[in-house]
Symmetry: C2
Subunit: 173 residues, 2 copies
DNA sequence: CGTTTGAGTTGCGAAATGCAACCAAGGCCC
DNA sequence: GGGCCTTGGTTGCATTTCGCAACTCAAACG
């Protein structure tokens, strides 16, 4: 009983980075813009025509992405009308999240085959599914996972097996 | 909202399941509700109080999540006032996307240590970062990746065999 | 010069969101 | 069976965001 309460308190308190991520990427067109950026789109008019998004919304979204450090805005030297929007490292690191979403949509949507596809440059084979992994890289399924409060974490190397099964909300089924 | 769906069709001949995923999860509170659900929240009032979301919006979001097959709605037998919202398999498979987002927020946000943390049930060690992997499970960085159209994919001299984890359903990508 | 192009802004109606109050069926208690 | 609480909503209305079309404005082009 106390366990669930704790978790709920943590939920209410702001110790989750998810709202932070959603503040940057939770708006309607943010992920679509990001996807276009990953596909080599760099300019306002390109985004606009590719996504068919309202110009004022695009303007606003791009500004916010820049504000959040996800894209960099640079007025081009050789033609100062042009502005180049470029993914930053921070933006590039959203790729796993985006691909995870896309793969989920692909699996559960109406069999839409997404294009283009991300491939390993080495052998040009498509990448595998985005999964959760243990600290050693083993793929872990949902049923092998528990939610733990930070204070309950064990130092590495001490594999502790509990006899009592703590009421972890997520372990159900 | 039909707007994003339209984009599916006229994306310069490109298709992508991302809009499909965003149609289900792209709205304001969807990921927060999902997170609460993963943390053991099952009832309307629990969601409402923990997320501090307007009741009509919560009602609408839960309905949509149910419509999209992400959550199941069940009137409880022992107390028929109560309704239990439960993640479906489809909903559970959003976990990698959600964790990827959260880890990104954790890394790039103001050092927020998220709690609770997902741990491997075996050794109670926190899970690793969500990454992109080659078809054989090797972790791949962004610079080792290429975007390829489906038509350009190597017919594949060496047969691509998924000898790795059969526990995780293979999403085509 | 005038024209075109790139990257936006402005104005306005439509839709989504948030807030507070209200509602109604089911259970609880005597 | 009649009050009264609980649970899971709905309704009405104000505020915010979205989408569309038209407009601006500086920089290049010719």
């Amino acid at each position: 009983m106390g366990k669930l309460r704790e978790v709920l308190n943590d939920l209410h308190g702001d110790n989750c980075a998810l709202p932070l991520a959603l503040e940057a990427m939770g708006e309607r067109w943010s992920f679509m813009i990001l996807r276009a950026a990953f596909n080599g789109v760099h300019h306002f008019e390109e985004f606009q025509q590719e996504l068919n998004i309202a110009r004022n919304i695009l303007s606003n979204r791009l500004s916010k992405l820049v504000d959040h450090g996800i894209m960099a805005r640079e007025v081009m030297a050789e033609d100062r009308r042009k502005v180049r929007y470029q993914l930053t490292d921070k933006g590039i690191e959203l790729l796993p999240a985006m691909i995870a979403l896309r793969q989920w949509g692909e699996k559960w949507g109406a069999g839409v085959p997404s294009t283009p596809v991300l491939v390993d440059a080495r052998d040009e084979q498509p990448i595998g599914p985005v999964t959760l992994t243990a600290h050693d890289g083993r793929v872990i399924g949902y049923k092998e996972l528990l939610w733990k409060h930070r204070s309950e974490l064990q130092p590495l190397g001490q594999a502790r097996v509990r006899a009592d099964n703590p009421a972890t909300p997520v372990a159900a089924e």
